[in-house]
Amino acid sequence: MTFAKRYLHLSHLLFIVLLLIQLLPDKSTKDVFTSSLITFAVAFEVIVLAASAFIKKEEGLSLLLDISGFIFVVLTLWSLATAKFNILNDLLFPAPGKVIHQFAEDSDKIYTNIKSSLGTTLKGFLIAVAVAVPLGLFIGWSARIGSAATYITKFFSSIPPIVYIPYGIALLPTFKSVSVFVIFLATFWPVFAGTMSGVLGVDKKIIDSAKVLNVSKPEMLFRVILPASLQQIFLGCNQGLSVSFILLTSAEMIGARDGMGYYVKYYSDFGDYTRTITGLLVIGFVVIAVTFLFNKLQNRLLRWKR
């Protein structure tokens, strides 16, 4: 890639525009923490520049720069509408610098809440996968003819898991365990269904070629059927994961004492919309990060597919 392709991009111009805008006088009566915004923007730009020096693929680089450009545009418009011209109600719409400042100030609290949220999700999700996959393999393999299990699964997976919450609260001792239970259910059925449909869809030719190699029963299940149905299993996992986040945050808003859903709910009850927006953005980033890592894992385990 040429130097121009690497470093000359609209995104960098937008970064400069964002900085220039900050020279305008503030109209808002409240403290808008312009310095926090500038610090963030500069740090972000430095990271983008550093990354563009290392990225090898042209598409990857232009994607990064398009996204960073979009972020600078949003920050510019947001800045203009709040701090600079005070068009929006400054109680409901905090200035970007304020949100960034709040994030820095609350970082310890946010970190504990993220840890709690991720811990709960991971627990429910991993237990569900650990139970659903082997069970799906066994039942799918033994019921290759009768597919009653498929219909039963369809019934249970059609119940929106959120309606289990009240019953879960009655059944289980702590609110944490309710969250884990609901996430377990939300993940279990799609993963179980995905595994079974994966098993049922394994090409008979693959099974024949395993049979002529005289593989043992456990080997047939875990070294042949499991990898052959891995793509379907991941489909179920993806579905489970995205529903898990919805459920977790809803559950946390109902009655938890920590977690990101709790953070958002708690502060919006007090009318602290700076923290509310901070919380919303953090949740977005966390979900994107988890999804990204999960997709990496998926691509790694399915690298043998073209």
Binding site: A210, L213, N214, R303
Partner: protein, 272 residues
């Protein structure tokens, strides 16, 4: 007592489809000598692949028997190496791992640490040096079949069963693969040749490779005739196809294959 490695007697196979049973193979009998290369040819639907499934142990016959070394055949076994038309290799394992897996299944005397070395030796034999860490999806169809042959050979079985292994390969590569298989199987005469049952619908392929050709007739599949191939080994395609005998022999097989079709459609003669 018979000295055949594989003895097929009065084999009958019924297929059940849509609750109707139909006769796929009827009273099929023939023997395969030790170290012999036998091809089974016939029009599609004549049951030649079904016959091989029985030998692989994947299909239980309705009647008759299959004996290997005088012992009744029961189910699958790693004393028989198999090459299919598709998916002989597991797509989630690299070619080396696929071969190692085959070795693990059939040769318990080989240590884990030696498997990779043997796998690479056989990859070299089939012309796939350096492709050990590729996945099957990264290889062409012809290369996948080379790897499948490498695995079957690395398993060091006395019997090799091949079910139309080259049918899905383009014409040019098919010729290359046939020559490779011929060379590997004939060897340099120092090692004992494997006993091969090879299913194909390609007459030239059958003649080039086989000692003996079993011609099947369809509906139900029965043995029309077992023909000995009268050409000396080692065979070379270029020399073989030039001889008059080759043309005559090929015509004889053609008439065996197509007379049957003529009878079925009711005409006296079929112009091809």
């Amino acid at each position: 007592m018979t000295t055949n490695k594989i003895e097929i007697k009065d084999l009958t196979v019924n297929y059940i489809e849509n609750k109707k049973s139909f006769n796929a193979l009827h009273d099929v009998s023939f023997g395969v000598g030790k170290g012999e290369f036998v091809s089974v040819i016939g029009a599609s639907g004549c049951g030649k692949s079904t016959l091989l499934s029985v030998l692989e142990g994947l299909y239980t016959p309705a009647g008759g028997s299959v004996q290997i070394d005088g012992k009744e055949l029961h189910g699958t076994g790693t004393e028989r190496g198999v090459v299919f038309q598709h998916y002989s290799l597991f797509p989630w394992m690299t070619t080396r791992k696929n071969i190692e897996f085959g070795i693990k299944q059939s040769r318990h005397d080989i240590k884990r640490s030696e498997r990779a070395k043997i796998a690479d030796e056989f990859l070299t034999k089939v012309g796939l040096t350096g492709f050990g860490s590729k996945y099957p999806s990264q290889l062409s169809g012809g290369m996948q079949q080379r790897a499948a042959i490498a695995r079957a050979l690395a398993m060091d079985t006395e019997i090799l069963l091949m079910d139309e292994p080259f049918s899905a390969i383009d014409a040019k590569n098919r010729v290359i693969l046939q020559d490779l298989l011929l060379k590997l199987w004939e060897g340099d005469g120092t090692e004992e040749r494997k006993t091969v049952v090879f299913v194909t619908h390609d007459i030239d392929e059958a003649i080039l490779l086989s000692d003996k050709i079993v011609v099947l007739t369809a509906h139900p599949g029965t043995v029309n005739e077992v023909v000995n191939v009268p050409f000396d080994r080692p065979r070379r395609r270029e020399e073989l196809v030039k001889t008059d005998e080759y043309g005559k022999f090929r015509n004889k097989l053609m008439s065996l294959l197509y007379n049957d079709i003529a009878e079925r459609i009711g005409g006296d003669e079929v112009v091809l």
